[in-house]
Amino acid sequence: MEILIEHLGDFGDGLLLTVELAALALVGALVIGVLVAALRVSPVPVLRAAGTAYVQILQNVPLLVWLVLAVFALPDIGVLADLFTTSAVVLALYQGAYMAEAVRSGINAVPVGQGEAARALGLTFSQSLLNVVLPQALRTVVQPLGTLAIMTIMNTAMAAAVGVVELTATANRVNLAEAQPIWIFVSAGLLYMALSVVVGLVTGATERKAAILR
């Protein structure tokens, strides 16, 4: 138990890094997800194909492979950024593919009449997407977005495998130094659970506010 108090600072830093990584990745993923989902519902076949290809390619290769590729191999073609930035970008791109699928399912859940009404009023494709369909689509996918947020938090742990000292890597380092695995790993696990609980609460509250009763 003293070990934990002694390394409270380390755990704090690790937790902070995990939260930062997850938050940056989520914001990036939301932007990418909306853009890719827009591509996938656009009337232009080439753009639809591009959106589908993005989702397929990103989802079907393990996150760890993307991280290893970006961290160890991209410097060989002159693309070099610091470890944290690289991991955050890769996570955002990866989660973006999942986000795109969630947003698209939301778009498909919007009643056809909404789009038809928007067009009847003379709105263009992007106007009806931005002002009519997307706001309703995002409201219906609050729950899936929460699940994705939890998935993102858990996936930040993969960054430990390429050398980012976030929560999982911190637990591992403290354990290598102190050799007290039970306490150290259990507290790391509890911190992850706490993060998920927070996300769950935020999701629940948002859902109650945003839900549209049909």
């Binding site: 519902v41 656009s42 009337p43 232009v44 076949p45 080439v46 753009l47 591009a50 397929q56 390619i57 989802q59 079907n60 290769v61 393990p62 996150l63 760890l64 492979v65 993307w66 290893v68 590729l69 160890f72 191999a73 991209l74 060989d76 073609i77 002159g78 693309v79 778009i107 498909n108 919007v110 056809v112 909404q114 789009g115 067009r119 494709f125 009806s128 997407l129 369909v133 939890i150 858990m154 930040t156 742990a157 993969m158 430990a160 495998a161 999982t168 637990a171 591992n172 354990n175 290598l176 050799a179 695995p181 039970i182 790993f185 790391a188 696990g189 992850y192 659970m193 998920s196 609980v197």
Partner: protein, 266 residues
């Protein structure tokens, strides 16, 4: 072709679509050209840096890694599906003493990263005298974490069945266990087959944690190869391509099954 957002295009819309198509193709070509120039400027397009990947020994080596990936994935899938069924039944059990532990297991494990579990098996268990063979150091954490995910899939499947199925079984004089096993589970399993496959794709992706465990599956084999020949970007791109092809085929299978289900239900 129309959807929520657009009607069948008229002549003006068709012209706009054509223009957008041309612009998009040009933009895509420009991106590709930029990427290739980046490769070329750093000498990564030289033929001798790619030639090794046309030779049999390299592919034999990667195929061996792929075989280990498949072995680990199949073992982890088998264990976590079996455990998932038991946990799902546990969560739906009428007895609180079975329901609570099963629920707790699923809810706790679902929020813990697989890598943390891998570190526990690698560095914590040996201190308590449990030093698993390398293969199980990869498979056990994956099975532990995916069992919770499979449990949720099965629970959703069981709950999606009409209550009458179980009730009919009970009224025929079957015990609850036999009614579950003979009537409910077979139907639920068929219903969730697509989800089982997509969860399995996730598990195949998780086996890349062999990179951390030093178990010679596909990604770790790639790491060893890249350290040996120094062709980092080429090796990892080939590895990514192999994962892409295999998982895309599995995902496609899941989608085909899903569509077949929708058709037969509707």
């Amino acid at each position: 072709m129309s959807s929520v957002l657009f009607d069948a295009p008229g002549p003006r819309a068709r012209r706009r679509i054509q223009i957008t198509t041309v612009v998009a193709v040009i933009a895509g070509a420009a991106l590709l050209w930029l990427a290739l120039r980046q490769f070329a400027e750093n000498g990564q397009l030289d033929a001798d840096r790619w030639a090794p990947f046309g030779t049999w020994p390299i592919w034999r080596y990667l195929a061996k890694g792929l075989g280990e990936t498949a072995l680990a994935a199949v073992a982890a899938i088998a264990i976590s599906i079996a455990a998932g069924v038991l946990l799902a039944l546990g969560r739906l059990s009428p007895s609180r003493w079975i329901r609570l532990p099963s629920t707790a297991y699923v809810e706790v494990v679902r929020t813990i990263p697989a890598l943390l579990l891998v570190y526990v098996v690698l560095f914590a268990l040996p201190r308590y005298g449990l030093d698993l063979p390398l293969f199980w150091k990869l498979v056990v954490p994956l099975a532990v974490s995916n069992a919770a995910a499979f449990a949720e899939v099965f629970r959703a499947g069981i709950r999606s069945l009409e209550r009458g199925q179980l009730e009919a079984g009970l009224s025929l004089g079957l015990t609850r266990g036999r009614a579950m096993r003979m009537i409910v589970l077979p139907q639920a399993a068929r219903r969730v087959l697509p989800s089982l496959i997509s969860q399995s794709v996730g598990l195949v992706k998780d086996t890349s944690l062999g990179f951390v465990v030093s178990y010679a599956e596909l990604l770790y084999s790639g790491k060893v190869l890249a350290n040996y020949n120094g062709l980092l970007i080429q090796t990892y791109l080939v590895i990514a391509l192999i994962y892409l092809v295999i998982n895309a085929v599995l995902s496609k299978l899941a989608r085909v099954l899903e569509e077949r289900d929708v058709r037969s239900a509707g």
